[in-house]
């Protein structure tokens, strides 16, 4: 089985982002960038399926600027076999992402696409579902467990009330939730080896995809800040304040 896994380069999850003074966006210059954490989980799942003998080849794809190569090299170091970068300086919306990936998927014909459920910058949680719809494939979103058997997959999904399992025919799209696996770290020899793995570049135009944005971000603001309240010394004082001052119990 062939797996396509996607990765996105985003502001590192440990960085406290700051809104730009002109309210045009958040500051990304000179900020540490990393692979989106949900994409790390996607890569790990693909690598585990290969280690189990279920997958035979892992292709990793990214959409982004030239620096997204680094993110792809990280995925190659973790165990992907080759990489595809759809290079663009534009900010591509999820609909554009899904359209680009549809062309990549059509070229590569994978049996399964594994993606992060959302990226921690835009927090949209859309691209996987949209790719699945454009391909007319089934989807298993927010996955906490994936089992492949007899040309089908069972995906256990994290839902608001607990867990749900769906059975999907292949090919299918799976999007990862936090508890699907714990991603490994790349070893130094594997990082060296990754430098020699193939990385193909193309542009959205090469794929014939229109990525013109459908939405405009008019402004980006910092959220209303909460200020620290008071410290209480005892449980009795806390309960008294909640009853008589805040009046919430």
């Amino acid at each position: 089985m062939k797996i396509l896994v996607t990765v996105k380069r985003v502001v590192d999850y440990n960085v406290k982002v700051r809104v730009k003074d002109d309210n045009s966006g958040v500051e990304t210059a000179n900020v540490k960038m990393s692979m989106n954490p949900f994409c790390e989980i996607a890569v790990e799942e693909a690598v585990r399926l290969k280690e189990k003998g279920v997958a035979t080849e892992i292709v990793v794809a990214s959409i982004g600027p030239a620096q997204a190569q680094e993110t792809l090299r990280t995925a190659l170091a973790l165990g992907a076999d080759r990489a595809v970068l759809v290079k663009t300086e534009e900010n591509v919306e999820p609909l554009g992402v899904a359209k680009i990936l549809k062309e990549v998927v059509t070229k590569e014909s994978p049996d399964m696409v594994i993606m992060g459920k959302q990226s921690i910058d835009g927090d949209n949680n859309q691209s996987g579902q949209m790719l699945a719809a454009l391909m007319d494939w089934p989807q298993g979103t927010f996955a906490s467990e994936v089992n492949v058997a007899d040309g089908k997959i069972a995906v256990t999904r994290e839902i608001d009330g607990g867990l749900e399992t769906v059975g999907l025919t292949l090919p299918a799209v799976v999007t990862t939730d936090l508890r699907l696996n714990e991603p490994r770290f790349a070893s130094l020899p594997n990082i060296m080896k990754a430098k020699r793995k193939p990385l193909e570049e193309m542009s959205p135009e090469d794929l014939g995809v229109d990525i013109a944005p459908r939405t405009q971000t008019l402004k980006v603001e910092a959220p209303a800040q909460r200020t620290a309240g008071i410290k209480v010394e005892t449980v009795a004082e806390l309960v008294e304040k909640l009853k008589n001052e805040a009046k919430v119990i």
Partner: protein
């Protein structure tokens, strides 16, 4: 101009998240219609028809929709999308699952998790785990939107008398995806996203057994029990307890955080609570920077005292 709201329900009752989504729809304006897709779900259609401001209910009832898949739901909505300028659903795991599919099928860019309606084309939504709020304008002819329930006051569940129209969904059932099973957490306590009081535990709780201390206090307060990602990852409690950026977003009257340091990820899910109490032995924990009442103390000493004091 009409707006279609996709109802979240369990085939018996309308979800509270749907009432908040209806409130967002009414802020946009125009006629509000509701689509109920389910099995044996007449009571849900009736409940939707009784909601304030709803003028029409589309009811797709089919045995294969008892646990409707995203594939089937998106297909049903697309088949009935004609004439609607806005399609809305709650930004729950239910809505987030199928709404992007509808966006792709209609060739529009959906807008996720809105927290305010500026006008019929313009909405505010949090990005970067709520560390920034973006004002987004859509140029698409149809707006496909998911709504953050805590950001809108629910409409009244009574006062409406909408007509109910039956919709045949038999041609929209996907064969590629089948519901197999579910394991729902059973609890007598209120749902996290609807609770007025929430008490959550973090890594500081030390074990799943220790969560019993939190549960006992929750029962005294009529509260829901939540947890930080760290507590869920450690296996103390199931995934559906998680409050945070990628878990549930809550905004109760009172949120009590016990043994939670206050990672950005967690704060993103609860910082809109009206009153926040933090109990943590680490005086430097970031949670104290947003708490209205902080108690620097050992939770294992404090929780039994709190239980007695309530």
């Amino acid at each position: 101009m009409a707006i279609l709201v996709i109802a979240e329900h369990n085939n018996e009752a309308l979800g509270a998240s749907t009432l908040a989504t209806l409130a967002a729809a009414q802020k946009i304006g125009a006629d509000v219609h509701v689509l109920v897709a389910g099995s044996g779900s007449q009571s849900v259609a009736d409940a939707a028809a009784a909601c304030e401001g709803v003028v029409k209910v589309l009811h797709a009832d089919n045995a294969d929709l008892e646990h409707a898949t995203a594939e089937s739901l998106a297909s049903i909505v697309k088949a009935n999308a004609e004439g609607y300028t806005h399609i809305l659903a709650p930004a729950s795991t239910y809505g987030k699952n199928f709404m992007p599919r509808i966006g792709a099928l209609l060739d529009v860019q959906p807008i996720s998790d809105i927290v305010s309606v500026e006008d019929e084309n313009t909405f505010k939504r949090p990005i970067y785990a709520g560390n920034a709020i973006a004002t987004v304008q859509s140029n698409d002819p149809v707006k496909v939107i998911t709504v953050r329930g805590t950001a809108f006051d629910a409409v009244a569940a009574t006062g409406g008398s909408a007509e109910i129209a039956s919709v045949d969904a038999s041609g929209n059932i996907s064969e590629k995806s089948k519901f197999e099973s579910q394991e729902l957490t059973k609890s007598e306590r209120p749902e996290l996203t609807a609770a007025k009081v929430i008490i959550s535990g973090g890594r500081g709780m030390g074990s799943g057994e220790n969560f019993q201390m939190i549960e006992e206090i929750a029962d005294k307060l009529g509260a829901a029990v939540g947890a930080s990602r760290a507590a869920v990852d450690a296996g103390f409690v199931p995934n559906d307890y998680q409050v945070g950026q990628t878990g549930k977003i809550v905004a109760p009257e009172l949120y009590i955080a016990v043994g939670i340091s206050g990672a950005i990820q967690h704060l993103a899910g609860m910082k809109d609570s009206k009153v926040i109490v933090a109990i943590n032995k680490d005086e430097e924990a970031p949670i104290f920077q947003i708490a209205d009442y902080g108690l620097v103390a050992d939770l294992f000493k404090v929780l039994p005292e709190l239980k007695e004091a309530l």
